[in-house]
Amino acid sequence: MAGSPRKYVPETEGLNQEFFLRAAGGTLHLQRCDECGTYRHPPRYYCQHCFSGAWHWEPSAGLGRVASWVTTHFTIDRGWVDDLPYTTIVVELEEGPRLLGAMRNLSVEQLELGMKVKVVGETKRDDFVFFWVEPQ
């Protein structure tokens, strides 16, 4: 909307920036431990299960299920005032980690814990990707 305050886009750095740079290439990538194969998010330097520092980025289709959601009715974020009420969904990806995104092409009435959804990225800047959560 013209004249509305812009939505916040963070300055990214470190592993988080690597995560977003990968996603900005068009495919969501998750960190995966080289030693025990465990996926993790948000990005971390060591594996929480086997403590290995060896890992790589692995592409993800972004498929998962609804783990929880929150609907916001009042916000102190002026960039989001025009979107009220808005719903944010926590998706449990098939790989295990949970990722948060904004609800799209769905209504709160349709939401159910465990329902199948997919995460779709929208590149806001080369080092930041915003995630939408849609029906599969």
Binding site: K7, P10, T75, I76, L100
Partner: protein, 393 residues
């Protein structure tokens, strides 16, 4: 191991500012004032203080020592646990005294929670800011871009699960808001004194996020508070009945810097901390004569009551009923009005009130004959802290 700390130190001085929306003094001025008064309350001079624990942000040990006159500070540390900081800081103060590193420790907090968090037409902004540090790194990348900018929205990521799992109704959470508001009517320093609340007021208040209504949320406030601790031995020669630090602990959910990927979404800092604190104190949660529970949001209080072990998981909705948490009930809760109805001083007002209660100087809100009480803190993305305090006999 840690039981060596139990009963070795005491709170000997307390002070709090007025609780206002739009302070006419800066945060450092507020902090210097309450610090000076807490030191005087203990019968001490600023030069007797050699340990200082300032809040995370807003004002530094160096400024406090220079303005009040503390020529030799031997111990200073800052606790970075958001609203859990003041109560966690008591542990650090007690340790430094018991270890002989400091003799008298000032713990203080002040902020411009009304004037600086978001723009206000009736308040002037200041440069003095909260130092959120690394907590914000996760929020900046993964929450705030989605319009999840406030604690109400972050905590709703687990509060929504809590109410769904245990079928917690708004009328259950209302018991906490109503108890705090009723108790605030007895407190000259409460922002909501003279503004009683009914269940209808509560139910009609506007939705905010997740299960939270406006009247589930604490008050944005400008305020400050301070306490002074010293050894129990020295405390017995001071003006007030010593309030002994019997047990305390801090706890962090895992991972503490990110909510949604926790293996146990409802296991928060206080779940880790409370058993340690009661073990240190050698008492049970059910021995408490009152509860000063960090009440940023009503539903958070319910989860804390369960974390304390004073009721089982999911049991808080029954625990808070039938006047149980009102003055005159078995477990009076937030006898000063709490963050919900006195004002938001990061729970430092809970420490001050607990001390007043155990001195038997709580006026109209006095829990008659109280000997033992608990204070909790809660902050950042679910960090927790606890202090079990007792009246010296």
């Amino acid at each position: 191991m840690t039981t060596e700390l139990s009963g070795k130190t005491a709170i000997v001085g307390i002070a709090e500012s007025d609780y206002v929306r739009g302070a006419d003094r800066t945060v450092p001025e507020l902090v210097f004032d309450v610090s000076m008064r807490a030191i005087a309350d203990a019968g001490l001079k600023p030069s007797d203080i050699n340990g200082v624990i300032p809040p995370p942000g807003f004002v530094s040990t160096e400024e406090i020592a220079a303005n009040l006159g503390m020529p030799e500070v031997t111990y200073s540390v800052t606790v970075h646990m958001g609203g859990a900081s003041p109560t966690a800081a008591l542990q650090s103060a007690a340790m430094s005294i018991a270890a002989g590193i400091a003799d008298c420790v000032l713990v203080t907090f002040g902020w411009n929670g009304y004037s600086a968090i978001r723009p206000r037409p009736d308040a002037k902004a200041t440069r003095r800011k909260l130092d959120l540090g690394p907590v914000l790194e996760t929020a900046r990348n993964f929450y705030i871009p989605y319009g999840l900018r406030s604690a109400a929205e972050w905590y709703s990521l687990y509060l929504q699960r809590y109410v769904d799992l245990y079928d917690v109704q708004p009328t259950d959470a209302a018991e906490i808001a109503l108890a705090c508001r009723a108790h605030a009517q007895l407190n000259d320093k409460a922002l909501m004194r003279g503004r009683p609340m009914t269940l209808d007021d509560y139910l009609e208040s506007a939705p905010i996020a997740g299960p939270l209504r406006k009247l589930d949320c604490c008050l944005e406030t400008d305020c400050a508070a301070a306490v002074v601790l010293t050894s129990a031995e020295r405390a017995r020669d001071m003006p007030h009945t010593p309030v002994l630090y019997l047990g305390g602990a801090e706890g962090h959910p895992y991972p503490a810097d990110e909510i949604t990927n926790r293996p146990e979404l409802l296991r928060l800092g206080l779940d880790f901390a409370a058993p340690r604190a009661f073990a240190m104190a050698g008492v049970k949660p059910t021995d408490m004569d009152f509860l000063q529970i960090y009440d940023c949001f009503t539903y958070v209080v319910m989860m804390e009551l369960e974390a304390l072990g004073i009721c089982e998981r999911g049991g808080a909705k029954d625990f808070v009923k039938d006047g149980n948490i009102r003055l005159g009930g078995r477990y009076p809760l937030n006898t000063h009005g709490g963050l919900l109805s006195q004002g938001h001083c990061w729970g430092f007002n809970h420490v001050v009130e607990a001390t007043r209660q155990l001195r038997h100087e709580a006026g109209a809100a006095q829990v008659e004959g109280c000997e033992l009480g608990v204070v909790t803190g809660y902050g950042d993305l679910g960090d927790g802290s606890i202090a079990v305090l007792g009246r010296d006999r």
